[in-house]
Amino acid sequence: MTAPNPNLTRRHFFQDCAIGTGKMALASLLARENGFAAAAPHHSPKAKAVIHLFMAGAPSQLELFDHKPMLTRYEGKPLPPSIIGGQRYAFIRPDAAVLGPQYKFAKHGQCGAELSEMLPHLATVVDDLAIVKSCRTTQFNHAPGQIYLNTGFSQPGRPSMGSWVTYGLGSETSDLPSFVVMSTGSGISGGAACWSSGFLPGVYSGTRFRNTGDPILNVSTPPEITPSTQRDTIDLINAMNQRRLQVDGDADTSTRIANYEMAYRLQTSAPELMDLGQETPETIALYGCDPAQPSFARACLLARRMVERGVRFINIYHEGWDAHSDVAGNVKKNCAATDQASAALVKDLKLRGLLDSTLVVWGGEFGRTPMVEASVSLGRSMGRDHHPQAFTTWLAGGGIRGGVTLGATDEMGFNVVEDEVHVPDLQATILHCLGLDHERLTFRRAGLDFKLTGVEPCRVIKEILA
């Protein structure tokens, strides 16, 4: 018989946290393999978890957050070319006429932030939010825009924010994946590239929680197999693997053994997580969800439950904001699906004392044009095209100062004129709240030290930090 492998101890630690991977153990493994040394946070974190409410398709900031009465005054007239510059658009010609805001705005909360009448629920938590009206991106198409916001690069292949974070911080749970992805609405343009681990090992990929079938793929024992046989099977597999470990001495075998145990725990913890019967009727009503039906609201409630259970990074995609036609109707419909639950999430986290350690981010991949989109051949009217120059994102909770509005656009809502926040600034800020320095969270590949925020200088948005 072989003596125990001296590497086992280290690997054991790794395996115990293998779904997100353990902090120190994996760090030392990767440090050796990739020249990356840090693993614990770089500084003391405010947030332990992130819930990113990704408003895919790009909501109209002009109907929700960025009130521009001038657009009504100039409705029907084109913007001067000096404002437009060389911007390319997806569908419209740059000289299209402007379109006034479709909804009324009012000031809310102690902070007096201006919100549209389409966000009555958000208005009740506005003092907890930092609203950034001066976001801008480099991308004007959905897939590249979404992939850029998630991975810092406009084409598939780079690790997503959730992957970087779990790579950098490891997992707080051994019963659930540490990076979870949910989606409602129609399909996501950026696809799996939005939560891919890119060139990081596959364990850092976001795990989809699905609306149909198993919430996690294959988390249910097949109907042909009884629960007791499942348990016995895992015991048999592990006993056989344990025996083989003695022969081959391969530490990966022992990781495998631990992963079967964890898989077994997942089979229980995932259904337990999904069981909203444990929630009070008040909570269900707060979110306004039907526990039996997949919806954005249900995903928000599940996200809170995940945070309680130690999940690190949660993406909820709500796709449907792409208002090329009838922007008023689009905003109304999507606010009906998201406003109450987004506000409820903030309230609920606060109620449970989790908001301070949970960062909530709400926003899309770009904004929408002050100009109207209309097309005879496509049958479109009263819409807005994609607008990379300005859009609004709000953040709340862990590390964020509430009641702040940052940045401003010009009076036509076209360009940012104050406190511009580029996508990498947003990313750096999210990492910062988690205790990570975006410049030090790197991965060596093909001769380069890659980082989420890319090579251009960027900054943490200090103005909105608590």
Binding site: P156, S189, G191, T253
Partner: protein
């Protein structure tokens, strides 16, 4: 202490001194070259440390950076160890901190003379004499090294382990128990070599090795990005399999993929092979700039070429001169220029069968035409009066059209070429807003109407007549506006009509709702006159499309004074015309008759001598012939076509594409034009040869090229040992890890070339070495000494690739289909993988019959929603080139093997077979173990299984359900999914 630290950091240590290439340059590259390297623009303090002559000199500060032999006098050492933050290098603000060991390396190096040496990978490989001439060459190098390290090789693996390993490595499949036994009991001295040769000759060899190559080729069956529509490029995948099975020498294999279209008299296979660089993604999202994404495709092609053949991170020079390697920003675009002169057509693969079918089709059309008069109801007597009637009415409708050939043609982007028949043929790149300016001048007065005929042409996407090649209806066009000017003054049109005005619109976003007609006609010829860019005249693409639009002038025009015609094509996708002809008409009744031009000409001229032509046209269109003519009309719209696949086609000399440098790598910042070339630090392209893709492809295999052979053998080595001799498969530059066995790497590289770049010979060489045949058991001593198995004192254990895991399970169950080639198949997977969350939905109709059980190589690869099991086990999505897969070990993998329906199906299949084959419990258990693990089970393992069986029986599990449970457990064993 220093030497020990070194040993650990490189994993390949034993030299007693610091080696520049192995130890020093990586440190300088990582910490110094970014500011003190070859990039002039980012150089700080006027100091350059990558060359000895400048490093021995001084920078701005005046102090001498390196004084060989005198670290205490060297400013570099002073700066590295300085306590003053102002002086310290690397500067604290860069957040680069040079560890103690690395600083010590530089100090030792300077103390010992600070000798610079050329980078090992940039000098051609040479074979050194074998250190142990009696041994297999691989063993000679490996064992000499082990000896120096005081280690011994492991004993040979047992026969079961060996047969399992060599099957998995060479063909990616398991040996059946019978195949394993045949080898184990073969006592002939050459049993192993015989086995190796038979595996190398197996058609499954190509399937196994194709998968690895396709990782580099970023092969997938969809376009990627939002819509992620399917594409047909599987003939390329099948070509790779065929080429590997035929042992097409690697130089030929590569040259065909990079430039097969440029070979003299290229064969269909040569063209199919160019699919390699057509595996780039295609963004078809509404409103993208197609040339921006074409640029990204080129960026990808340069990077992939660098990775796959050169082991260079060329991509690092896209935005600026390489921070570490001697690759200039301009070098990057010069390499791009070598690759950037191709069009990207879809190629219909010709075969003798297809040609025969086409011939038969043409004959059928001729026959149908000839027979048409005999089909007239009532016979010739009834036909003739109706024909005369038709002639009278159509002659009255017809009018004389004069073809006008433009005297000048200018466009925003496409190239227009006048054909002998007066048609204008477009080619080249297109944009979302293309404008054609055509000058018409002819001594024709009183012109009242202008006709644009459009017709299909085989050179166009989907046969044209338009140039649309993504997102919109492929091969269609959309004429937003038509404008005329004479002497600078606008010429008014009164109205227009087109022969397809009655067709429903198919203008909607083609990918979401492929070519669904929309009610209500808004797009027709007159929409090209309405001043509204979003409406226009549209014709959809396809074979044998022919339409025309007639535009009527408000006032007659004298063409003698010239007419400047402007055609504007603008949509959210690029949509210019590709094949069209312009004619004018002076009569008072010009109209779009719908007759072919030659028919209308004969009618207008009253040329009744062309009776055959006219009669045929009459018969095709006569209401009473509707049924009889239908087969002919349908036949004309269809043609048997070869299987399409995506290829490259070098542009004609008349229309080369220029390549520019892009400032900071940004598409919106094109700068000066660059000339095609290879980086200066590598051997030059041959004198006198044109600097193009083909020359470049040949150059990769020139004897003086230091990279290609090394990079290739290293990648092959990694497949067998889990780790390359150079760990960084994709990077042989200054930042790469030095080779663990440099002499072996070079020996193999030269041998590979000398053996005619034969992959099979290389693989044979590797698997017949004792090094390969060692046991993979990790003793505690070896685990302690060399966990990563750098020194190769044992064979390597690593988890198998996703595809092999799935194929093995199916094979062990007796379900695997060995059918080769063809379109991607859809094995079972949970429905939510493709039904949820992705924008470009795919209809994952689970394949029936044997296609459920094909080798994973043939699984349809959808980039935005890849096959779930494959992703869980680290298979790539085809979105980026991958030289080396990560190997992860996760609970999700356990869930897949335990609960995925396909693995359950495999367990059920196995149970059935095992019950039929084996009479009792022990035999059945042994059978299952043999099928999954190759080796027989040990008694204690059988006891574990027996305990499980007994317990399950107490719960009432019996028969097939029981043996399914046992099979399922064994399929989940670590050993079942591990390279032994």
């Amino acid at each position: 202490m220093l030497l020990l630290a070194l040993a650990l950091s490189t994993g390949a240590p034993s030299a007693q001194t610091v080696d520049f290439n192995r130890d020093v340059r990586p440190v300088l590259a990582q910490y110094c070259f970014a500011c003190h390297g070859m990039d002039e623009h980012s150089r700080k303090g006027k100091l350059r440390l990558d060359l000895s002559e400048t490093a021995y000199g001084s920078g701005k500060s005046g102090a001498t950076a390196i004084v060989p032999g005198a670290p205490e006098k060297s400013e570099l050492i002073h700066r590295l160890f300085s306590a003053d933050e102002e002086e310290l290098m690397p500067p604290p603000h860069t957040k680069k901190v040079m560890p103690e060991a690395e600083r010590a390396i530089l100090k030792t190096w300077i103390a010992s003379g600070a000798q610079y040496e050329p980078h090992w990978a940039y000098s051609p490989p040479r074979q050194t004499p074998l250190p142990k001439p009696n041994l297999h060459p691989i063993d000679a190098f490996v064992q000499a090294r082990l000896e120096r390290e005081g280690l011994k090789p492991s004993p040979e693996a047992d026969r079961y382990e060996l047969v399992r390993r060599v099957y998995l490595d060479l063909i990616g499949l398991l040996p059946t128990p019978a195949q394993a036994d045949a080898f184990v009991h073969d006592t002939s001295p050459h049993a192993y070599e015989t086995l190796v040769d038979s595996l190398l000759a197996s058609p499954h060899y190509g399937e196994r090795w194709a998968r690895r190559w396709l990782d580099l080729a970023r092969y997938a069956d969809t376009n990627g990005f939002e819509k992620d529509r399917p594409r047909t490029i599987w003939p390329y995948r099948d070509w790779v399999v065929r080429a590997l099975n035929a042992d097409l020498p690697f130089d030929q294999f590569s040259i065909r993929q990079l430039a097969g279209d440029m070979l003299p008299n290229p064969t269909p296979d040569d063209l199919i092979a160019t699919g390699f660089h057509r595996n780039t993604m295609l963004n078809e999202e509404g409103g993208i700039d197609p040339n921006e994404y074409r640029f990204y495709s080129m960026v990808d092609r340069v990077a992939v070429t660098g990775t796959a053949w050169m082991g260079l991170t060329l991509n690092c020079a896209q935005c600026h001169t390489h921070k570490y390697d001697p690759i200039l920003h301009t070098d990057y675009y010069s390499v791009m220029a070598l690759l950037n002169n191709a069009d990207e057509p879809t190629y219909a693969i010709p075969t003798p069968q297809i040609e025969a079918q086409q011939q038969a089709h043409r004959e059928r059309i001729a026959r149908l035409e000839a027979e048409l008069p005999t089909k007239f109801p009532g016979g010739p007597d009834a036909m003739e009066p109706r024909y005369q009637e038709w002639l009278t009415s159509e002659r009255a409708r017809a009018s004389h059209w004069e073809i006008v050939r433009p005297s000048e043609m200018q466009t925003t982007l496409p190239r227009l070429e006048l054909q002998p028949d007066g048609f204008i043929l477009g080619s080249g790149d297109i944009s979302k807003s293309d404008v054609y300016d055509l000058r018409l001048q002819a001594p024709i007065q009183n012109v009242r109407a202008l006709r644009i005929e459009v017709a299909s042409h085989p050179s166009l996407p989907n046969d044209g007549p338009g140039l649309t090649n993504y997102e919109g209806p492929i091969g269609g066009f959309f004429l937003s506006e038509l404008q005329g000017r004479q002497n600078g003054e606008p010429i008014a049109f009164s109205h227009a009509e087109a022969t397809n005005d009655a067709e429903p619109d198919r203008i909607s976003d083609a990918a979401k709702a492929p070519a669904k007609p929309k009610p209500g006609k808004t797009n027709n010829a007159s929409a090209a006159l309405d001043g509204e860019m979003s409406s226009g005249w549209q014709v959809l693409g396809g074979y044998a499309v022919a339409h025309s639009a007639v535009f009527h002038f408000a006032e007659p025009v004298d063409l003698g004074a010239g007419l400047d015609l402007k055609l504007l094509f603008e949509k959210h996708f690029a949509c210019p015309l590709g094949h069209f002809r312009i004619s004018v008409n002076t009569s008072d009744h010009a109209t779009a008759t719908g007759h072919p031009a030659e028919v209308e000409a004969a009618l207008a001229a009253g040329d009744l001598s062309q009776r055959d032509l006219l009669l045929l046209r009459f018969l095709e269109t006569a209401p009473e012939m509707e049924k009889a003519a239908a087969p002919l009309l349908t036949a004309r719209k269809t043609l048997p076509r070869g299987q399409p696949t995506l290829v490259l086609r070098e542009r004609p000399a008349t229309n080369p594409r220029s390549t520019r440098r892009y400032h900071r790598g940004e598409y919106l910042s094109p700068k000066e034009e660059v000339t095609p070339a290879v980086p200066a630090f590598l051997p030059p392209l041959p004198d006198g040869a044109p600097a193009n893709r083909l020359t470049f492809a040949h150059w990769l295999f020139a004897p003086e090229n230091p990279l290609t052979a090394r990079v290739t053998v290293n990648r092959q080595w990694q497949a067998f040992f889990g780790r390359g001799l150079v760990r960084t498969l994709e990077d042989f530059g200054y930042q790469s890890e030095a080779p663990s066995h440099p002499e072996l790497l070079d020996w193999l590289a030269v041998e590979f070339r000398n053996q005619g770049w034969s992959m099979k010979k290389l693989h044979r060489l590797i698997v017949t070495s004792a090094t390969y045949k060692q046991s993979s058991r990790i003793t505690p001593a070896l685990a302690e000494r060399d966990r990563e198995n750098v020194l190769l004192a044992r064979a390597s254990r690593f988890r198998l690739d996703a595809e092999i895991i799935r194929d093995s399970a199916l094979q062990a169950a007796g379900l695997l289909s060995t059918k080769m080639g063809g379109p991607g198949v859809y094995p079972p997977q949970p429905a939510s993988v493709t039904s949820e969350g992705t924008y470009g939905k795919v209809d994952w109709k689970t394949s029936e019959g044997e296609d459920r059980y094909r080798r994973s190589l043939y699984t349809f690869i959808k980039r935005t929603a890849p096959f779930a099991m494959a992703t869980t086990f680290d298979a790539p999505t085809g979105e980026a080139c991958l030289a080396r897969r990560e190997i992860s070990n996760s609970p999700l993998q356990a869930l897949t093997l335990l609960n995925d329906s396909m693995f359950l199906e495999a367990a059920q299949g196995m149970a059935k077979q095992v019950m039929a084959e084996s009479p009792d419990d022990p035999a059945r258990m042994q059978n299952i173990i043999r099928r999954c693990l190759t080796r027989p089970a040990a008694p204690d393992e059988l006891a574990l299984l027996a305990g499980f069986v007994a317990k399950q029986r107490t719960t009432g599990l019996e028969g097939e359900a029981l043996w399914t449970a046992v099979s399922r457990a064994v399929l989940n064993l670590d050993e079942a999914i591990t390279h032994p």
